[in-house]
């Protein structure tokens, strides 16, 4: 998709929190905001924002998804880039919003909105060209690619490039990095047994990596994988990459 905006790094950006960050992982959200601000970006946070609509969209409740999508399009109407700390929500808004309103009078607004969507790490790496100064202690991490960051947004290389900038962090890749962790929203509930088998294999892969921290860019995957690691009483920390980057560069 052609970008409608060619963002000016000194300019303002909208921040779309995502519902999971808002309710469960606000620390990751604050870290993302702080990372952007540390690059001189002004954050605009429309308080009327909510969810991208993906849960309903993927479950067959398109009408309900459309109403919620319409709300976001309305709330983020000014021509600023919209930075999203989740590949999955970003993919929903960038690729599926235009579909949701195809052939209606709202299609143009949906396309305009979609063209302004950026994954957080994509924005940090390509628009802001951040240079990270690693102030943390040496550590080994691994990275989980969310399916939609990988296949819809195609932004995994940016997350990894940012990890690569941290001089004292060793990244060990997973054996089956491109395989789904089994979250899939309502899939984890509707096909609980298959989902459980998938997350078990993912956790085994993470354990074999020898990393002390699992990094991810999507809180759905994180909730699934970190939840399974905690349930299995593994001493591996699960963390949103934004939080990790902020901690390492902010000297915490």
């Amino acid at each position: 998709m052609q970008r409608k905006v060619s963002p000016d790094p000194s300019n303002k950006v909208y921040f779309f929190a995502t519902c999971l960050i808002d309710a469960v992982y606000p620390d990751a959200g604050m870290a993302a905001v702080n990372l952007l601000r540390s690059q001189g970006v002004e954050i605009l946070f429309p308080p009327d924002q909510s969810c991208c609509g993906q849960p309903a969209f993927n479950s067959g409740f398109i009408q309900q998804a459309r109403t919620v999508a319409r709300k976001q399009i309305h709330v983020f109407s000014k021509p600023y880039p919209i930075v999203v700390p989740s590949g999955s929500c970003a993919g929903m808004m960038k690729h599926h919003y235009p579909e949701l309103f195809a052939g209606t009078k709202e299609e143009a607004a949906a396309r305009d909105f979609a063209s302004r969507i950026f994954d957080l790490f994509e924005y940090l790496a390509t628009v802001l060209n951040v240079r990270l100064d690693d102030r943390g202690a040496p550590t080994t991490v691994t990275w989980h690619s969310s399916c939609h960051a990988l296949r819809e947004m195609n932004v995994v290389q940016y997350a990894k490039a940012l990890i690569g900038q941290l001089s004292k962090v060793t990244l060990v890749e997973l054996e089956r990095e491109t395989e789904c962790c089994g979250f899939g929203g309502t899939f984890a509930i509707k096909q609980a047994a298959i989902s459980a088998a998938m997350v078990k294999d993912k956790v085994d892969d993470i354990r074999r990596s020898g990393a002390s921290t699992l990094l991810a860019g999507d809180c759905g995957c994180l909730m699934n994988i970190a939840g399974a690691m905690a349930h299995g009483q593994l001493a591996i920390d699960g963390k949103h990459l934004a939080e990790f980057l902020w901690e390492r560069t902010n000297g915490q």
């Binding site: 519902c19 960050i21 808002d22 309710a23 469960v24 992982y25 606000p26 959200g29 604050m30 905001v33 002004e42 954050i43 605009l44 946070f45 429309p46 308080p47 009327d48 909510s50 969810c51 609509g53 849960p55 309903a56 479950s59 067959g60 409740f61 398109i62 009408q63 309900q64 109403t67 919620v68 709300k71 399916c147 939609h148 296949r151 819809e152 491109t178 395989e179 789904c180 089994g182 979250f183 899939g184 929203g185 899939f187 984890a188 509930i189 096909q191 609980a192 047994a193 298959i194 989902s195 459980a196 088998a197 998938m198 997350v199 078990k200 699934n224 939840g227 399974a228 905690a230 349930h231």
Partner: protein, 476 residues
């Protein structure tokens, strides 16, 4: 939820997930197939161009389908091939029965054909005192063991070498136990040679039917397809009506995509192009060739502009090989002829949502299938579409059984979700209530499923909304 699902999907899944041997066999086999495909398509730009070409060719064929089928029939007939139309599988089976009876054949030797599986031909023939003899090695193995294929391309992939050795020893009288693969293959070959020599009728599938020339193209690696189509006096080919392509020049890109995606081969060992029965000056080949063209719901699928993409499929099976669900539950769990991602979209459309709509729930929508599909079928989009059809909130369903899952409770959940997510006050209130309750959320319903293998998510005391408001963030 009022479902009349025709099979016990949950129980099948449970059985498969707990079968360690099955899961090991599947994982090993899928890893090999995935790696072979990757190796045969090393250049990703070239692959994307090829996929776009394959998609365009098949889309063009579907657009002109009625015209191309008429052209195929006319060309085949002119070439001396008898063309039969079957609206459903029962008609197709009776056409074959009639041909076999006319030639007083007690058995038919079969090359691998998923359409014949869709027809449950072997079962039908058995009920009429006749025999369908599978001659593809994988099909031969599972037929001995009274099983059905668990994969479109590699039907016995759920079995390992040791299990095959045991089946041969047990089912083929006088066969000593051996795990030597070459010896096992030789045993199958010896057994099948006799059947080929005796058979009056041979059956095959069709990979591509070329309208321009009236040619039936069939790929295979074992030579059994060539035996089935040339040794017996009568050859019957069966195909779904979506197999027709317009021109001979359409075939090379499709073949490259098919063999590369299916088995990671540049080309198969055998490519059979059948254009007529034996001619007067020819010394071999069948004296009679029949083509059975099966609809079985395909023309209804064709009617919908989005769902018709299901018919682009060239049956390479690579969506199965890349699917994180298929690799864990295997083909039999799906309870129908076509398993894996393609089965999840094809079967509910053929059988109706009430019987098979549950298959569409078995996807995390990870997108791996759509990413590798050689003809670019947007499988995740079509899975989502079938979920939508299942609830049919807007009374717009076109698939048989549309709205079968519609129920008050789930509708209210999503309506509540909708309300909360478009009303800032309710949204905030919901997050605050959950935050205040912290980890005291009752572990019932969905949360119970979730916490069987994971800890419950911790709702933050203060949402990001609150934290940013407290610090006075700008929101213009």
């Amino acid at each position: 939820m009022g479902s009349k699902t025709s099979f016990d999907f949950d129980s099948n899944i449970d059985t498969a997930l707990n079968d360690g041997q099955l899961r090991k066999n599947l994982r090993n086999a899928m890893d090999i197939l995935v790696e072979k495909r990757r190796a045969i398509f090393p250049d990703s730009d070239q692959l994307q161009q090829l996929r776009a070409a394959g998609n365009a060719i098949k889309r063009r064929a579907l657009k002109k389908l009625p015209q191309l089928l008429e052209q195929l029939e006319a060309k085949c007939t002119a070439n001396g091939i008898h063309v039969h139309w079957a609206e459903d599988t029962s008609q197709a089976n009776h056409i074959i029965l009639e041909i076999m009876r006319r030639h007083e054949a007690s058995a038919v030797v079969k090359g691998k054909s998923m359409v014949s599986e869709e027809m449950h031909l072997n079962r039908f023939l058995e009920a009429h005192g006749l025999e369908g003899v599978e001659t593809d090695l994988g099909e031969f193995i599972i037929q001995l063991n009274h099983e059905t294929p668990s994969h479109i391309i590699v039907p016995a992939i759920h079995k390992n070498k040791d299990e095959v050795a045991a089946i041969f020893h047990e089912k083929l009288t006088g066969t000593p136990y051996t795990e030597d693969v070459e010896e096992l293959t030789a045993i199958a070959r010896r057994t099948l040679r006799e059947r080929f020599a005796d058979a009056k009728v041979g059956l095959s599938g069709v990979n591509f039917a070329i309208a321009e020339t009236g040619t039936l193209l069939l790929v295979e690696n074992e030579g059994n397809g060539r035996m089935c189509t040339t040794v017996p006096d009568v050859h019957v080919a069966v195909m779904g009506l979506e197999k027709v392509v317009e021109k001979l020049s359409d075939v090379p890109p499709l073949l490259r995509l098919l063999t590369g995606s299916a088995t990671g081969q540049l080309i198969t060992t055998y490519i059979n192009m059948i254009s007529s029965p034996r001619k007067a000056d020819e010394k071999d080949g069948p004296k009679e060739v029949h083509l059975v063209i099966l609809d079985n719901g395909r023309s209804s699928i064709l009617a919908d502009p989005q769902l018709r993409q299901t018919l682009l499929c060239i049956r390479c099976g690579t969506c199965l090989n890349h699917c994180p669900v298929y690799v864990r539950i295997g083909g039999h769990a799906y309870g129908h002829v076509y398993p894996g991602p393609i089965g999840k979209i094809l079967t509910p459309q053929m059988e109706g949502l009430e019987k098979a709509g549950v298959l569409a729930t078995a996807s995390s929508l990870c997108g791996a299938c759509g990413e590798v599909c050689p003809v670019k079928i947007p499988i995740p989009d079509l899975i989502r579409r079938l979920r939508y059809e299942s609830y049919d909130q807007e009374a717009a369903a076109v698939v048989d059984g549309g709205g079968y899952k519609k129920n008050f409770a789930e509708t209210m959940v999503w309506k509540g979700w909708e309300l909360a997510n478009r009303s800032p006050l309710l949204n905030e209130l919901g997050t605050r209530v959950a935050g205040a309750m912290g980890n005291h959320l009752p572990k019932v319903g969905p949360l119970k499923q979730w916490t069987s293998v994971r800890t419950a998510p911790r709702i933050a005391r203060k949402s990001l909304h609150q934290r940013l408001r407290d610090e006075g963030v700008n929101h213009e």
